[in-house]
């Protein structure tokens, strides 16, 4: 079987020749180590008064942004190929640098959705980027934002379509690009407003919350259509619905607010005969039935540090969902021994791969995930993941 047959067979809950392996959004730190590249110390360039403004202007040029972003993501795909993955999550983002006196660097990234991202550096100088705070904490600010950015929202869909199209054309015969639609509807709804304010709106201004969710559902579906048109056969919808100890909202509240949106997404994906994998960080145990009900084909992540146990998930959902991930990134794929990695791979295969429906992968990515451990994971999958399962 080739990579594509292997992955699609597994997602169809049939046994491929061996358990497929999938990569996530690889951090620059991991990519640079795999490809032997030096980090680009972006933060130092921003700190340097001589280069600061020219860097800002250059990054805010959309064609430069898209070219740089694609080049960086090509490195991710090359790394993934080098590791021997069958598939890799692909993600497009569009951001612009903006002056911000609240930031120690004086510059932050704004994304089109109204989120502020702060920059930092890891020990090697690679840029770290994290959602920091909202740009539209009030109803009026949110309304103004989406009105002002309306043309940009459309442009971003075009950029994302091109991005996925190019990746599929360049890499599609060697690895499965797992297309990614826009940030999830829940994340996109609360993050531009802030969690505390959004929570208040849920209780105090439900109509406004519905308007936000409807807006992003429509946007999401159009974005998704572009991603699917690009030739990508499996799409990943990422929306963090849970935190370490459980869902961020009561499951029936999630159903009320987001259930219809998720059903529409699943329908749109299935209409095009594609597969839909859903990613949520955190303890999703209480949401497993919902994932099935909403029509997802599979779920990815299943963080062991959030008490998600692969065998229990398989037992709970049977083969109604394909399961992807669950390998720990708090210790195992950072500092674990080869034996520990092998044992974890064997356990994951034993817990979830019988009858197909399991794709091996790290549960998440971060800058300290070690490529050697990822390599060990792939080797162990080759060694123990052949059907009939030898683990």
């Amino acid at each position: 079987m080739n990579f594509k047959e292997r992955l699609l067979t597994a997602l169809n809950h049939e046994e491929p020749d061996r358990v497929p392996v999938m990569g996530l959004i690889m951090d620059p730190s991991t990519v640079n180590q795999i490809l032997g590249k030096e980090p680009v110390d972006f933060v130092s360039m921003i700190k340097n008064p001589e280069s600061r403004d020219s860097i800002r202007d250059m990054m805010n040029d959309s064609s430069f942004w898209n070219k740089t972003y694609y080049s960086n993501f090509s490195d991710v795909m090359e790394s993934s190929l080098k590791l021997g993955f069958d598939a890799n999550w692909t993600i497009y983002a569009f951001m612009q640098l903006a002056e911000d006196s609240r930031s120690s660097l004086g510059l932050v990234w704004h994304d089109v959705y109204g989120r502020i991202w702060e920059m930092g550096s890891d020990a090697s100088g690679n840029m770290l980027l994290n959602y920091s705070r909202p740009l539209c904490p009030t109803e009026a600010e949110w309304e103004t934002w989406v009105e002002e950015k309306a043309p940009l929202f459309e442009t971003v869909i075009e950029y994302a379509t091109d991005f996925h199209q190019n990746l599929a054309a360049e890499y599609g015969d060697r690895i499965m690009p797992i297309g990614y639609a826009a940030p999830g509807i829940f994340e996109n709804s609360w993050q531009p407003i802030g969690f505390v304010e959004f929570t208040k709106f849920i209780f105090q201004k439900p109509d406004f919350v519905k308007r936000i969710i409807d807006f992003y559902t429509d946007f999401y579906l159009r974005y998704l259509e572009g991603v699917m048109q690009s030739g990508v056969e499996v799409v990943l919808a990422g929306d963090d619905l849970a935190q370490k100890t459980g869902p961020m909202m009561r499951p029936d509240m999630i159903e009320k607010l987001l259930g219809e949106s998720y059903r529409r997404i699943a329908e749109a994906v299935h209409k095009r005969n594609r597969k839909l994998i859903f990613h949520s960080c955190g303890n999703v145990n209480e949401l497993l039935d919902k994932f099935v009900e909403w029509g997802f084909d599979g779920i990815i992540t299943m963080e062991p540090t959030a008490n998600v146990k692969l065998a229990e998930v398989r037992e709970h959902v049977g083969h109604k969902l394909a399961l992807i991930g669950n390998l720990d990134v708090s210790h195992l794929l950072v500092k674990g021994t080869q034996q520990e990695v092998e044992e974890a791979v064997k356990k994951a295969i034993k817990d979830a791969a019988s009858g197909g429906g399991y794709v091996l992968s790290a549960c998440h990515s971060h800058p300290f995930v070690d490529p050697i451990r990822l390599q060990w994971m792939v080797e162990a999958a080759h060694k123990y993941g052949e059907y009939l399962i030898r683990a």
């Binding site: 120690s104 702060e118 930092g120 890891d122 020990a123 770290l128 980027l129 994290n130 920091s132 969690f195 505390v196 929570t199 208040k200 849920i202 209780f203 105090q204 935190q243 370490k244 100890t245 459980g246 869902p247 961020m248 909202m249 009561r250 509240m253 540090t305 959030a306 990134v329 708090s330 210790h331 950072v334 971060h366 800058p367 300290f368």
Partner: protein, 215 residues
């Protein structure tokens, strides 16, 4: 005999009814309820205790926890200025921050919000906080607890460095150290010799309340 205003205040907070809770608090503030301010503060605190238990037992979720915290905060904003001189509405100060190299702050913010609603003064150092800044804040604010947060495993090493810095500056005994974050565990807290690990905002606040009482 239970006072009707206090009972309604508690009930409406637990029903997540902001308007009704604030309405009852206003009756207290306007002197129309026969309730003294301290009793109302205690009722809010008692309601928050129940909120915390519901969250810990899995009956309530983060959104409800956060909103209940906001209602309590709105109540305290009205009651606080009326507290008798000398009566303390604050249980003490907590300094919080996310370690160097880590820019995640949702967990820290939820903890800070909840602790504030529960009666602590919060000094939030933000994210990506250098070791020395944590130490300086302990000297400046003399907190009941220093709350250190981190999401990533590797940045967790920074927690050990902060604790080491407190020792180096001979201020380790000035404040308890409590840690929390997605990748952390009780075992890790012991390894770095923190005083406690908080798996969630409620447990963290409860632990610090215990320290504040015995301080």
């Amino acid at each position: 005999m239970p006072n009707e205003t206090l009972e309604k205040m508690k009930e409406s907070l637990l029903a997540l009814d902001m308007d009704s809770t604030v309405g009852q608090v206003k009756l207290v503030v306007e002197g129309e309820s026969g309730v003294v301010v301290q009793e109302a503060v205690d009722a809010v605190a008692a309601a928050l205790e129940i909120v915390g238990k519901r969250f810990q037992e899995g009956d309530w979720f983060l959104a409800e926890l956060v909103y209940a915290g906001e209602i309590a905060r709105a109540a305290m904003e009205l009651l606080g200025p009326l507290m008798a001189a000398g009566a303390s509405q604050h249980l003490g100060t907590i300094v919080v921050g996310t370690v160097a190299g880590d820019l995640h702050d949702l967990g820290k913010n939820i903890f800070a919000n909840y602790s504030k609603s529960a009666g602590f003064e919060i000094i939030d150092l933000g994210v990506d906080v250098p070791t020395e800044k944590f130490a300086a804040a302990v000297i400046e604010h003399n907190p009941v607890a220093l709350g250190i947060s981190c999401l990533l495993t590797v940045t967790a090493d920074e927690i050990g460095k902060v604790i080491e810095e407190l020792r180096k500056q001979d201020i380790r005994d000035r404040s308890k150290v409590i840690i929390g974050g997605a990748a952390l565990t009780e075992e890790f807290a012991r390894e770095v010799e923190a005083d406690a690990f908080a798996p969630d905002a409620i447990t963290g606040t409860d632990i610090i309340k215990g320290w504040a009482i015995t301080q």
